[in-house]
């Protein structure tokens, strides 16, 4: 009987100790907010374009954390969808066409002689990438522009163009080799000749 009581006593003592440790750890290592939202947010392109239907990338990240589809981000495109799928361990689905199509990177360019200085685009820009003042010409800081298109709509004189950012020698990157499938058909010389005679 004593042994049983002793065992129970020891177990109770142990549970109290570990409970205290766990309780302390819970307080000491408390994580503010939902870390998954931060992780999702880090994968999103931060264009803040609102094409997903949310007012910015972080709200969409929160929506994804709450179960929204991961394919509503046209600027991120398939790469982002893949990354989100990997992060959330879900299936990578094609981009939802309702929210737009994946375009090449673009920046807004103001045709400056047509600008009337209404500041509407400045108010629309989510990243403060447009410089200007009332009745003064505005201009886009190309390096800061995320190409979100949000400034195009409010312009009363339609003087904002979305211009594709061309590849320069500095931004150029190597293509991926075509791989095996594309080239392996003509390995055997006789095959190649047969193809020619066809």
């Amino acid at each position: 009987m004593f042994t049983v009581l002793l065992a129970i006593g020891i177990l109770v003592l142990l549970s109290l100790i570990f409970g205290a440790i766990l309780g302390y750890a819970n307080v000491r290592f408390h994580v503010e907010g939902d870390p998954i939202v931060d992780q999702i947010d880090a994968l999103l392109p931060q264009t803040q374009c609102g094409q997903c239907g949310h007012p910015g990338c972080r709200p969409y990240a929160e929506a994804i954390a709450n179960g929204e589809a991961i394919n509503h981000c046209p600027p991120g495109g398939q790469v982002t969808i893949q990354a989100l799928a990997d992060l959330l361990d879900v299936e990578a689905v094609p981009l939802d066409g309702d929210h737009g199509t994946e375009n090449a990177k673009r920046v807004a360019v103001i045709r400056e002689d047509e600008c009337i200085g209404c500041t509407k685009c400045i108010q629309a820009c989510p990243v403060d990438a447009i410089l200007g003042a009332a009745k003064q010409m505005h201009t886009v800081i190309a390096d800061e522009c995320t190409g979100c298109d949000l400034c195009v709509e409010p312009c009363p004189v339609d003087c904002i163009d979305m211009v594709e950012v061309g590849v320069t020698a500095k931004t150029w990157s190597w293509d991926k080799p075509q791989g095996i499938a594309a080239t392996s058909l003509n390995i055997i010389a006789t095959d190649r000749q047969a193809e020619v005679t066809h």
Binding site: D128, T168, S173, P177
Partner: protein
């Protein structure tokens, strides 16, 4: 160390490496060539790693050989010089030597063929001046690493100062097949090379200086050795076995020092500096000759060239020019490669220029460099791993690159890959491994850049959001502050509102015991005063100016009230002896006062209920039921108030008659009290309406207009009452000494009473009108409106008003005459009173006309038929009001005319001043009146015109329209007669003056 004898250093080994066919002999058969000047030199601004240079010249500028044409743009950048004298033809995008085959900004120089050097300023005192100056000088001479990467030399040398250098390695290995440019350079410029090394050694102060050179360059080695021995230099020569890629910086360091450059670090981190031989020669030329970097040694080789050779070529020379110089055979040429066969890249076009890092042009025939065999599946043979000089796992990297698992590729040190191509070279499946790695690397770099950019965007977005939030919060705070201010005011009013009627409630149980009532009144007044003072204090603390003003007014009002009450209270004891008499006299009015009490309680109750309902209405503005209820209550309230006023009139009459002889003061004080109560009620009403208006404004209720009107009316009422209140207060003190003139007092009382009655009647009219208006607004039919009790009530009220006004008019004319005889002193007073009253009457009549006109207009606006308008009481009322106005004006002119001759000459002066005062205003009133009447006439005429037009347009309604026209004409006539009368009275007045 035995310098001079032991010139060969120890040589270690590195992992992997391959032994491709060297093919170096072809280009060494001819001596160093010097091609002629091309037609134009193309000088890309980005020939080095880092920021592109900034052009210093404009199109059309004449430049001399060696003149600076572009300067550095930041720390990691370089200068650019004119390779020959000539004219700047253009600064434009041109195809450049780049694997992408893209264009970049270039300065185009048209040589003039003179080769005129600019003034050369060699740095002869390089040993004496500071090293920083020498480094800056090197930068200005446009010297960059000429081995292939193009890293600005001064930056590299600065970085070398981080750690004490153990080894300064000169890279002369030139391991890549076909290329012999460095070999030729060493042979041609041995001394310059050694001198250049010495300058660099002076700058970096390394423990050991080692020239690493492959054993396939015996001539170069021999030349070097002889020079070094000659100069008794401490520079060592390390002859390394031929193995690709021993010329790689990290590989050569490993070969010569046995130390491996750790992953992600630079040679400087382990105390080693590596410089290419071409750089050393360029440094010598710059420092000792003052020549900037404008030319370089380049190998022209390949089967497609008849005369493969090394050339010293000016930077910017198009490749096509060199191919021509080396007699290329276009038929044979299948691939044109910039660089060696292992690490070079294919050129799409031969128009691209030679740049500072171009060490070889390989014009290969098809046989020489067949197109790459098709890629096949990896068979996991592991030969790539054997060949990798960087000790990586190329196979693993391939899997990761193929499946885009860049993170894993990075973990497998993808970025330590030097892209030497050894793995691809050995791969039996012909997998272009290096291309996969290059793709992966650039993808990762792109992702990193995108990440940096997205971080920046996020930062900016969040900063903007924070800014907007702050702005919004500021606005909200301001809004709240404003709201608080207004709500404070509202609560003040709320506090004041129930406090104000309180005296009514307290006054309601009016007992015959006046002193008790007075005491209660005083107590209430004092508590109210205290409350007001507290509010005032709060307001002062919060610095609400408007509030302070209004509160201060209230406080002074309150203080006055209390003072007067106390005065009354003080007089009570003196009246006490007379009380029994009064009591007996008051025996009969006792039931009346009871009734009055009951009526007042009713009023208070109904008022409370009404208030509650109105509050509800504000909360639910669309509740029709509530509105109906409210209107019902309002009628009740009105009726109750009427009874109260009637009763109090009775009491007043009885008390005044009973106490008149004994104590006229009492009646006055009673009157005063009643007036005060009325004033308080009116003020409370004003406040209530104001509050309702504010609330309505907040919720944008449709009743705003109605409430505003209510407010105006209430204010008017309150003003009138206060005016009335002020009069007796003015007369009261006078009345105390002038006990001999009770008649005056009585008259004044009567006038006052009538005024009150008038005000009440007016209020009744107004309320009825308002209700009718409300019903109209609610879209009720005229029939319905007529069915409701309002119009009849309106008429009743109007009748009463008219009767009262007539009474008053009659009375004012008679007593004033009577009083003139009895109390000349009082006459002026009463005259002034009468004039004032008349003025008020006039104003009221005018207001009535205005209202009637407005209503008619409203009906018209509502597109009611003329007949309907005719049917409604408004036109009639308008005419009535106009008549009344005319009568009043006639009245006014009459008394204004009479008193002057009637009064004695002695009084004339006194009177005239009063009269003139009284008359100036009526005159002005008359003027406005005339104007208004003129407008009315014009309106009537316009209406007749309109009606005539309508008659033309619709002959079928001719009869009714004609009737209308008749009515309108009648109206016009009456307006015209009125106008005439007005003008007449005006002229009269002017004559009187």
């Amino acid at each position: 160390m035995q310098v001079g004898k032991q010139q060969t250093a120890n040589v270690f080994s590195f992992h992997g490496g391959i032994h491709p066919p060297e093919n170096k002999a072809q280009s060494l058969q001819l001596p160093l060539g010097r091609p002629s000047l091309p037609n134009e030199l193309i000088l890309p601004l980005g020939q080095h790693i880092g920021q592109s240079s900034r052009p210093l010249v404009k199109v059309g500028d004449k430049v001399l050989k060696g003149e600076t044409i572009a300067i550095n743009n930041g720390f990691l950048s370089s200068f650019l010089h004119a390779p020959t004298s000539g004219t700047i033809a253009a600064i434009e995008e041109r195809l450049i030597a780049h694997p992408s085959g893209l264009s970049d900004l270039c300065i185009i120089l048209s040589p003039d063929g003179n080769e005129t050097w600019t003034t050369l300023e060699p740095l002869n005192n390089w040993q004496d001046i500071s090293k920083t100056d020498v480094l800056a000088y090197l930068s200005e001479m446009g010297i960059i690493g000429m081995g292939g990467a193009g890293f600005p030399t001064q930056v590299k040398l600065q970085g070398a100062h981080k750690n004490p250098l153990t080894h300064f390695i000169i890279n002369a290995a030139e391991c890549e097949p076909y290329i012999t440019a460095d070999d030729m350079l060493i042979r041609e410029k041995t001394l310059e090379l050694v001198l250049g090394i010495e300058i660099l050694q002076h700058l970096v102060e390394a423990d050991n200086i080692v020239i690493g050179i492959e054993d396939n360059k015996p001539t170069a080695i021999a030349a070097l050795k002889s020079v070094l021995t000659e100069r008794n230099s401490k520079i060592q020569i390390a002859v390394v076995p031929t193995k690709y890629p021993s010329g790689g910086e990290k590989q050569l360091i490993q070969l010569l020092t046995g130390k491996e450059v750790p992953s992600g670090q630079y040679p400087a981190d382990i105390g080693v500096l590596c410089q290419n031989v071409g750089t050393c020669v360029a440094v010598h030329d710059a420092v000792t000759l003052g020549k900037p970097l404008i030319s370089r040694f380049t190998t022209l080789t390949g089967d497609a060239l008849k005369n493969p050779q090394n050339v010293e070529v000016l930077l910017g020379t198009p490749v096509a020019h060199l191919l021509e110089y080396a007699d290329s055979e276009p038929k044979k040429l299948s691939r044109l490669i910039m660089g060696g066969p292992m690490m070079g890249y294919t050129l799409d076009s031969a128009v691209v220029p030679i740049v500072k890092t171009s060490n070889c042009i390989l014009a290969a025939s098809k046989k020489e460099l067949p197109p790459p065999a098709p890629e096949q599946a990896c068979i996991r043979c592991g030969m790539c791993e054997q060949a990798c000089p960087a000790s990586l796992l190329p196979q693993q990297l391939l899997w990761f690159s193929k499946s885009q698992e860049f993170e894993k590729a990075e973990h497998h040190n993808l970025f330590d890959c030097i892209e030497c191509g050894a793995c691809s070279y050995v791969c039996p499946s012909s997998i272009p491994l290096v291309q996969y790695y290059r793709h992966s690397k650039s993808s990762i770099r792109e992702a990193r850049e995108a990440n940096v950019k997205s971080d920046l965007a996020k930062q900016r977005f969040e900063a903007r959001k924070a800014r907007q939030d702050a702005e919004a919060a500021e606005k909200e705070a301001k809004r709240l502050a404003r709201q608080k201010a207004t709500s404070d005011k509202a609560t003040d009013k709320k506090k004041a509102a129930p406090a104000k009627p309180a005296p009514t409630a307290a006054a309601a149980p009016v007992t015959s015991d006046e002193s008790k009532k007075l005491k209660v009144d005083i107590a209430i007044g004092k508590s109210k005063l205290k409350k007001l003072q507290k509010q005032l204090l709060e307001a002062q603390e919060n610095e609400h100016v408007e509030e302070i003003n209004s509160l201060q007014l209230q406080v002074t009002d309150q203080e006055k009230t209390i003072a007067s009450l106390e005065e009354q209270l003080a007089q009570i004891p003196s009246a006490a002896p007379a009380a029994p008499v009064a009591n007996t006299a008051k025996a009969s009015p006792a039931p009346v006062s009871d009734e009055l009490k009951k009526a007042k309680v009713d009023v208070a109750l109904i008022g409370v209920k009404l208030k509650k309902l109105q509050k509800q209405l504000i909360e639910t503005p669309d509740d029709q039921e509530l509105k109906d209820k409210i209107s019902a209550f309002e009628t009740d309230l009105k009726a109750a108030q009427d009874t109260v006023s009637k009763l109090s009139e009775n009491t007043q009459a009885s008390t005044s008659t009973s106490t008149a002889a004994a104590e006229p003061k009492a009646s006055i004080s009673d009157e005063l009290k009643k007036l005060k109560i009325d004033a308080a009620i009116a003020k409370a009403a004003v406040k209530k309406v104001e509050k309702a208006l504010k609330k309505a404004e907040e919720i944008n209720a449709p009743e705003i207009d109605a409430i505003r009107q209510q407010l105006k009316e209430a204010q008017q009422r309150a003003d009138e009452l206060e005016k009335a209140l002020a009069n007796p207060e003015a007369t009261a003190p006078k009345a105390v000494p002038a006990q001999a003139k009770p008649a005056t007092n009585l008259d004044a009382d009567a006038i006052k009473k009538r005024k009150i009655d008038l005000a009440i009647a007016k209020a009744g009219v107004k309320k009825a009108e308002k209700n009718i208006q409300l019903l109209k607004e609610q879209g009720k039919d005229e029939a319905e409106i007529n069915a409701s009790e309002w119009p009849s009530k309106l008429k009743e009220a109007q009748d009463k008003l008219a009767a009262l006004e007539k009474d008053q008019a009659a009375e004012t004319s008679t007593p004033s005459v009577a009083k003139e005889a009895s109390a000349p002193a009082a006459t002026t007073n009463i005259d002034a009173d009468a004039a004032k009253k008349r003025k008020i009457d006039l104003a009221i009549a005018k207001a009535g006309i205005k209202k009637a006109e407005k209503n008619i207009q409203l009906l018209k606006d509502q597109s009611k038929d003329e007949s309907e308008i005719e049917a409604s009481e408004w036109p009639k009322k308008l005419i009535e009001a106009q008549q009344k106005l005319a009568a009043l004006e006639a009245n006014e002119s009459a008394p204004a005319a009479t008193p002057t001759p009637a009064s004695s000459p002695a009084e004339k002066t006194a009177n005239s001043t009063a009269d003139s005062e009284a008359k100036v205003e009526p005159e002005m009133d008359l003027a406005t009146q005339i104007k208004k009447e003129k407008i009315a006439v014009a309106l009537a005429k316009a209406q007749i015109n309109k009606l005539n037009k309508r008659l033309e347009n619709s002959p079928e309604d001719a009869n009714s329209i004609r009737q209308e026209i008749g009515a309108a004409e009648k109206r016009l006539q009456s307006a015209e007669t009125l106008l005439e009368k007005l003008i007449h009275s005006q002229t009269n007045m002017q004559e009187n003056r």
